[in-house]
Amino acid sequence: MGRIAFLNANAAVAEAALVAGLGFYAGYPITPSSEVPERLSKIMPEKGLPFMMMEDEIASINACVGAAASGVKAMTCTSGPGFSLKQEALGMACMFEVPLVVVDVMRGGPSTGLPTRPSQQDIMQARWGTHGDHPIIALAPCNAQEAVFETIRAFNLSEKFRQPVVLLTDGSLSHLHTKIYIPDPEEVEIVDRAEPDVDPDNYYPYDYNYEVPPLAKWWTEDGKSYRYHLSSLIHDKTGFPTVNPKYTQWLLERMHNKILNHLDEILKYEYYKMDDAEICIVAFGSTAEAARVAIDQAREEGIKVGMFRPLTIWPSPEEQIKDIASKVKSFIVAELNLGQYKLEIERIVGGKVPVYGVNQAAGVLIRPSQIYEKIKDPAKRVEIGLTEEELKRFGGGE
């Protein structure tokens, strides 16, 4: 049996990572993510697991890439500015095809922005923060309980597809304490990376015969030592650099196809009151909870509105959105940024029906009343949902 706890999403992520089999953590503290390393720094040493407080953001993800390649499950955690610094190594991890979980607790940006305030401004950074045609998986839970299961899923997906997975929470979720259930590892599916069934002499880290080639541990329990090369340059099956156009094309296409061919395993989403909906709200993370309240309120007045909530943000649920677009009259994308995921929804909807946005980058959550207002009058701009009195409390200005 697992246990009941009263935790915020940061602590929930830390606990869930241990359930998933976390074997190495390296990080550099940054608000609002610091409770993740804080909790792990207490628990991991007690379990004999390495926890490394690194000198900076870049070193921490590099340490994690190395640990992950050697055979353990590794995670690092950060927020916007740190996530920017980690992008180069994240791209390297994609190229190496090592399993890795990177948690980004989104805070207001750009730059150092609003350290203690929530945002959803890293949606595009999670997709395209690092350069080149790389695949990525990004998940966005909407509460601490879901953060537990999505963290475990992040590890599972990363192990299964040899793929870095980004877990996106935000500065509000990360501090909201709720009652949650932390399962035992026996109660949930735990995926470990496939290991090679060949001897070290015949092992290739990028074997052409696989969609996801097995990633050998550097040392196995029966004493074998797999020594192989990982290169951030385009590489052939041996892991050594090549400029051969055939292998180059093959590598990049395989890296994408290992994700695109398995969307049914990777995509996760929720339909909320969508059966007869004419308006579809698209929301994720903290914002989705506000949307839920707004939808209930509008439904009481007979307005046919529902929500499509992607838990997997990247790759985006294209088929599902297209299907909804053929049924509803409009979309409203509610997000704590100036319209990042709206771009993706617009691309998929392709002009079939209008796509509106509730966009707020003010460092405060979108309130249910704001989404409700938008449902009532989609063409109207929704202002920051705070009264003059409330705004005064934040100080500054004038």
């Binding site: 009941i4 009263f6 909201l176 304490h177 009652k179 909870e289 309130r367």
Partner: protein
């Protein structure tokens, strides 16, 4: 809607308002069959900046955990009182440290204001200023009956470091007594 109660514990960083909030939230979740949320808010100052914890206790799952109708408000610093009195319900119970917070007369007409020398009592009668929060929790429970006394007492035992336990239990009992008296006699500032 069934049972739904909002509390706000506000002070300045270092006073322990967040701890007081944790005790009540844990009591609701682990010792009473309620749902609870706790949202701490603080500025980047480690000490001295206004800080608060909002707690919602409910018998149904809490979807959007925003405190907009606060039933009970504890303020242990003027800065915190001024900053966070905004979301109080009309007729809310307001407990302030009488030595540190002056409640404006017009506020006393809207809220039920109880003044008590929390810091002084904790420091000189109980013997350590850190017990102030448990003292306030005691007053809160005695005054509002929001949670079962034993449920909160059990939580205090779990949350407080062993070496401060006796002192804190004393503070809790003193608080309960004060709270019950307030409940009977009504607001101290009219």
């Amino acid at each position: 809607m069934g049972f739904h109660y909002e509390l706000r514990f506000a002070g300045v960083g270092g006073q322990g308002s967040l701890t007081a909030g944790t005790i009540l939230a844990h009591a609701a979740v682990f010792h009473t069959n309620y749902y609870a949320t706790q949202v701490p808010t603080y500025t980047s100052q480690v000490r001295g900046g206004a800080a608060k914890a909002d707690i919602i206790i409910s018998d149904t799952p809490i979807v959007f955990a925003e405190s907009t109708n606060v039933d009970f408000f504890l303020a242990t610093h003027q800065k915190a009182y001024n900053a966070y009195k905004g979301d109080l319900k009309e007729g809310a119970d307001v407990l302030v440290d009488s030595g540190l917070v002056t409640v404006p007369d017009e506020d006393a007409k809207i809220y039920k204001v109880y003044e008590y020398p929390l810091v002084r009592t904790a420091k000189y009668e109980i013997g350590n200023v850190v017990t102030m929060n448990v003292l306030a929790v005691g007053i809160c429970v005695g005054l509002t009956h929001v949670l079962d006394v034993e449920a909160v007492r059990e939580t205090v035992k779990e949350e407080v470091p062993e070496r401060f336990l006796d002192m804190n239990l004393k503070a809790f009992d003193m608080g309960l007594e004060v709270g019950e008296r307030f409940r009977k006699e009504g607001p101290t500032k009219k």
